[in-house]
């Protein structure tokens, strides 16, 4: 390839495989970040997002390897391609950050979220809630004569849909974990 004929903003020679760095289209990306589980590491990651004006749509974090004291943070964020590249590069500068994966560009991946819903009601409403829960494969983890607590895991869209259906049936409380995600295959 003739190096002098590089198109402006072309990705061929960039540090990262940019699609079109000048695009203003807002994209959603799921990032997983492997960090040392030490004091303040979550504050560093979150502070980066708030300090530089990036978005956090969802965030989960827990220790995944007690022996090496490592945690995995999953963040769903939105921005233009240039902003997404900046977010990844800035995350890479944080000393306790070991790896940043952009699952959205790295290939197929699965993402799941866990949610709990408290729905109260009697009579037909109560029956309908239970029937819908069955369709959505939500489990009943607590019940009284006037209420259920449903638990379900799935993609965020499925949880959104279920929450929408529960609203007229007496939805009282919602708790969601945010997205955990992992690349498919070995």
């Amino acid at each position: 390839m003739s190096v002098l004929n590089i198109k402006k903003g072309s990705s061929a020679h960039s540090a990262y495989d940019l699609k079109d760095p000048n695009s203003m289209v807002i994209e959603s990306h799921t990032l997983t970040i492997l960090v040392d589980n030490e004091a303040g590491v979550l504050a560093r990651v979150i502070g980066l997002f708030s300090g530089r004006g990036y978005n956090i749509e969802s965030l989960t974090v827990a220790e995944i390897n007690g022996e090496y004291h490592q945690s995995r943070i999953t963040i769903v964020t939105t921005g233009t391609p240039q902003v997404i590249e900046q977010i990844k590069a800035q995350l890479g500068r944080i000393i306790p950050v070991h790896k940043v994966h952009d699952l959205t560009v790295e290939g197929p991946y699965v993402e799941r979220e866990l949610a709990m819903f408290k729905v109260s009601g009697t009579g037909d409403q109560r029956v309908e809630a239970l029937r819908l829960a069955d369709i959505f494969r939500a489990n009943v983890v607590d019940s009284t004569l006037e209420s259920f607590v449903f638990e379900m895991t799935g993609k965020s869209e499925k949880i959104d849909a279920f929450a929408e259906l529960m609203r007229p049936l007496g939805l009282q409380e919602t708790a969601r974990t945010g997205v955990a995600a992992m690349a498919r295959g070995a």
């Binding site: 002098l4 940019l18 303040g40 504050a43 590069a89």
Partner: protein, 584 residues
């Protein structure tokens, strides 16, 4: 070696093992055990500043003029919060600092104890990394890791917060040699394929230019040498940011001068007209690029930087080489030579012809007439009278800073200490003390405005105590000149709060501190006054009364591209639109 010792002793031992010679600091309750250990030894010198901000800037001056990390020791609470400006300054200019702060005892953390502040919380966004050490056994290893992180990769400030009980408690000392493999190891070698692609671009480019920055200086003296060799061998014109001045000599054949908002006409025009911009250790700051949409419309952009987050942040790079500038330039030179040392000579000749036309515009011209000293004239005379001396320059922030960059000549790296990224007024005085500590026999001059200088003038006490012979060269226009200039250009000459009424008498102030004061207001007396200043063996406060309404030109108005510069003689009214006004 006895490896069991108190935390306080461990700190001193760790600093010794890191070859620290000087610590800038200010004592307080939460660091008493460390100061006790300082009292009991003679290897490390402690410089007592007059304000913690001064300690940070002094350490920055020390670091930037030596290439070694600057070390600071301050107490908890207000000691730590006063360090925040210096930490941010060092972060933006990539200066390696290791800052040790005292903290209230671990069992009192969170109680709103006396002089307690959440130091690691407050300084998290303004350090490269920071730690709260809760166990004396971790202390030495943390300090060693701190030095490693501050000085490797893109340098920056680190902070280690040490509670008082950790200083008192005994623990096991870990020498640097026993450190486990470090978790922070940035890439320093560039991708050889990309370097080859750059060599190919250099061979063919018709209008190439080197745009260099502070990264060259941070990479070490060797990197500057390689840059000089490459520039001279290829005959490519070179410009630099404020932070990069001196990496390529101002007396060098290919030198175009500084670029950017107050850069030289020829440098900015060459950037705009170029077909190949080779950015070496610079970061496309907004003071450099002007309007991003119109930045160098015809150029291929090559970006060499050790920090991947600098790439594509502002200007998309067509070719990005991640690595240490010194390593990349070394490989680039090798590859380019092995390919036959080719350049596009006929095109380069034409390019230089064009550049010479721009140079002929003489953008720094000014007229010194009458009985009032023009600030440009004062700096030109200072340059003429000091050019053969072993000279270091620090600056404050404002018009004088830009004039210093335009009219003083820097032929070596590490000779200009200035607050580029953060623009910290009050940087220069303490910074000049740090430089003088590192280079006791050299001439150190702080180019200042009277506004900036007053911000940290208490450090004259430090200069007197340690006999630091720095010269405080104040271009006194009795105005906050840069702000006043903007008010003239875009707020219809409504000079809101840019006149400091009741300035002190700087000569009497010098008397009060016990140093020498010199005032000059007549251009005919200027040379003799400067010679007096240079001849005096001690600190001098030099009050140079200059033209009060001089503006700093050339200038790219905010929101304009490189080829729309305002020149000193141009009609400057209404040159900046409303959209530019917000970018000031």
């Amino acid at each position: 070696m006895e490896r069991q010792m108190s935390g306080a002793k461990m700190i001193i031992q760790a600093l010794k093992d890191q070859d620290v010679e000087v610590v800038f600091g200010y004592p307080g309750g939460a660091v008493l055990p460390i100061y006790d250990e300082i009292f009991l030894q003679n290897d490390i010198r402690h410089i007592l500043v007059r304000h913690e901000q001064g300690a940070l800037h002094a350490a920055e001056g020390y670091a930037r003029s030596t290439g070694k990390p600057g070390v600071v020791l301050v107490t908890s609470g207000p000691g730590a919060t006063n360090a925040v400006t210096g930490l941010t300054d060092a972060l933006l200019d990539s200066i390696p600092l290791v800052v040790l702060t005292g903290q209230v005892p671990t069992f009192m953390i969170g109680n709103d104890a006396f002089q307690e502040a959440d130091t690691v919380g407050i300084t998290r966004p303004c350090t490269k990394h920071n730690w709260l050490v809760k166990d004396t056994n971790d202390l030495a290893a943390t300090i060693h890791e701190g030095f490693h992180i501050a000085t490797s990769g893109r340098p920056g400030p680190v902070l280690i917060d040490i509670p008082k009980d950790v200083q008192f408690a005994d623990g096991t000392y870990t020498p640097p040699t026993d450190m486990a493999k470090n978790r922070y190891n940035p890439v320093v070698k560039g991708d050889i394929e990309k370097i080859t692609a750059l060599a190919e671009l250099i061979e063919r480019a018709e209008k190439p230019i080197f745009y260099t920055g502070g990264g060259v200086i941070n990479s070490g003296v060797g990197a500057s040498q390689l840059l000089r060799e490459l520039t001279d061998a290829t005959g490519i014109p070179i410009t630099s940011t404020l932070m990069g001045l001196g990496a390529y000599p101002a007396s060098g054949e290919n030198w175009l001068g500084m670029l950017g908002m107050h850069g030289l006409y020829e440098a900015n025009m060459a950037m705009h007209g170029s077909d190949l911009i080779i950015c070496v250790g610079a970061r496309f700051d907004d003071r450099i690029t002007g309007r991003v949409e119109d930045f160098a419309p015809d150029a291929n952009i090559v970006h060499i930087d050790i920090d991947p987050s600098s790439i594509n942040k502002i200007i998309p790079a067509d070719l990005a080489i991640i690595g240490d500038v010194g390593h990349v330039l070394e490989d680039l030179l090798k590859v380019w030579k092995s390919r036959g040392r080719k350049t596009n000579k006929p095109a380069l000749k034409k390019w230089w012809g064009q550049i010479d036309e721009w140079k002929a515009r003489k953008c720094l011209a000014y007229t010194q007439k009458g009985k009032i000293i023009k600030p440009q004239y004062a700096l030109e005379r200072l340059q003429a009278l000091t050019q053969d001396m072993d000279r270091y320059i620090t600056t404050e922030v404002g018009q004088h800073q830009m004039w210093a960059a335009q009219y003083l000549k820097f032929d070596e790296p590490n000779r200009l200490m200035t607050s580029g990224g953060l623009g910290t007024m009050g940087y220069g005085t303490p910074s000049s003390m740090g430089v003088q500590m590192a280079h006791p026999d050299s001439l150190v001059i702080n180019i200042a405005g009277e506004g900036s200088w007053l911000m940290n003038m208490q450090e004259m006490g430090t200069a007197m105590q340690y006999r630091l012979r720095t010269k405080q060269f104040i271009l006194n226009n009795e105005r906050l000149g840069m702000v006043r200039q903007w008010q003239e250009l875009l707020h219809n000459e409504r000079y809101s709060e840019t006149w400091q009424e009741a300035l002190p008498d700087f000569v009497k102030l010098a008397d009060a501190f016990g140093c020498k004061g010199i005032r000059v207001s007549d251009p005919d007396d200027l040379d003799d006054a400067i010679k007096d200043m240079l001849a005096y063996d001690g600190p001098v406060i030099f009050d140079c009364l200059v033209e009060k309404h001089e503006n700093c030109f050339p200038m790219i108005p905010s929101g304009a591209p490189h080829n729309e510069m305002l020149m000193g003689d141009a009609n400057t009214q209404d040159a900046i639109g409303d959209s530019g006004a917000v970018l000031v």
